[in-house]
Symmetry: C2
Subunit: 333 residues, 2 copies
Amino acid sequence: MQQSISQAPPIEMKAQSAAPQHLFAGVDIGGTNLRIALSQADGTILARTATTTVGIRDADQIVALIRDGVLDLLAQTGHARESLVAIGAGAPGITNADTGVVIATSYLLGWRDVPLREKLEAALGVPAAIDNDVNAAAIGECWMGAGRESSDLVFLAIGTGVGAGIVLHGAPYRGASWLAGEIGYMLVPGVSTDPIRRGEPGALESMVGGEGIRKQWQALWDAEGSTLQRDLTATQIFEFAEQGLEQAQAILKQTARMIAFAIYNVSLVLNCPLFVLGGGVGLHPVLSQAVQAMLREQREGSQPTVVTSALGADAQMFGAIRLALYASSLPPA
Amino acid sequence: MQQSISQAPPIEMKAQSAAPQHLFAGVDIGGTNLRIALSQADGTILARTATTTVGIRDADQIVALIRDGVLDLLAQTGHARESLVAIGAGAPGITNADTGVVIATSYLLGWRDVPLREKLEAALGVPAAIDNDVNAAAIGECWMGAGRESSDLVFLAIGTGVGAGIVLHGAPYRGASWLAGEIGYMLVPGVSTDPIRRGEPGALESMVGGEGIRKQWQALWDAEGSTLQRDLTATQIFEFAEQGLEQAQAILKQTARMIAFAIYNVSLVLNCPLFVLGGGVGLHPVLSQAVQAMLREQREGSQPTVVTSALGADAQMFGAIRLALYASSLPPA
């Protein structure tokens, strides 16, 4: 699995490509959304589509949606089915990238030991590669995003959940049992050290995940009152912080402080120079600035660079395309 | 540098070996001690020697001591100089294993950018390999010690200093600038989050390093008084804890709790199943038991295994021998 994520020219969006060519499908399977892109080997996306998966838990149904979507994109762009070389997919759960089995996902899909790679290969007749979605995002950022100049990066997905995808020496690092980067459970100063029961959110996630930030705002609101609403999303709070509202700034600062602690700890372990923030909460640019400022305060000497994801919600899909390239025998262009 | 640390038969100490053979020298350069071993490719140590380095800071003087020691061991065991195939050394500081340069050590040696590999090769006329001493210990434990059945382990050196050596997929992981595993600075619940100035001990080290434990005992002594002495070493405190003395048990528990937090955090990042405790403080068996108990409490589900180093003070030397095998073109026996 130690293949380097090669660098490639900048992304261009093209509606149509005339020349017959080797094409790759990248799939981002979310808890509620399915996104599919058809791409050239250099990461140029020719067409894309998205659909909801709400109410659909059956893996075969999801695979049928993927197959139909990919065939549709091929038809739309005037390519024969034979142009498709390989498919890659990011799945929202613990994924064995070697055997191609999704070991477990959250309740939204409720998958257990789904041989997704095999199902995709059977449905489309091409090689497939799968990985965890956060790993896919890290791979995507390293290939086409904020880590294009780097062979080592940590992608921090901060949304409802909190987790990290790790690329070391140009290759995804997944851990002994596919659980590397599970930093939503990290114990940093200020989090609860109460024992965690199965299925409960981790200590760090409870503080800096979307729900955690929301609850902290509500606690502050209950204690101090505010001219703002009691029910705000993390993104709204960050926007108020940007506008200079003190209470929102306090929540932003506290969130940034804990994320900085976590990045600091991960950086001590891995000595990785680049951290990329993504996910619904992590994408807000004000957060990476605040985190970087906190890191500078923590210790004299060089600190890792913290940036916002360059690919945004597309990070996982680009990673999935890169996985498709891994699955094929073709090198990335 | 991605060579696997192969497994080998159990260690036997032999005073003498009759057959002419390929021999390897392993060197553990400490802040105050220099230890040298002459070994077969299977890790069987034929002879060893140790000397003090107190008052010696000059790298060329240390290299001369190493050369004399190795030649002496060859002579002692009746081997020609030509039997020596390669030499490996662990150095107490930041070490570039690729270029063979010791970038910086603590004040005891005070080295800056010392081309140690080159100097060793010039002195002995054989290939040399060098690494940081904690990395060497991790390599040693994985080859011949507590990690013989594992391809992934984290060696935690807990002594005056606190740091970790990491082996992933059978190869040492050293980080982008040779600083991986610098966990003495880790921020876990209960440590100070005050900014760290250059040269100061890290937040975790201040609590669980030898000096930290000593100071915590003194603080407890000042607050509560005790029938025991005010000045005790960490090892003495752990012994009193083993004997059932409550105050000593409180210090042990607090130390184990913070080490458990750190192991938990490292384990979240790396998903590494085995942690080996070593170093003057870490070697006390009561500590690994206490840490493992704390980990079990922290979270439902599988936790990493925590064991005491099997090689003790020899871990680094065995790692250095393994480094010598890397440096040679011969596979380990």
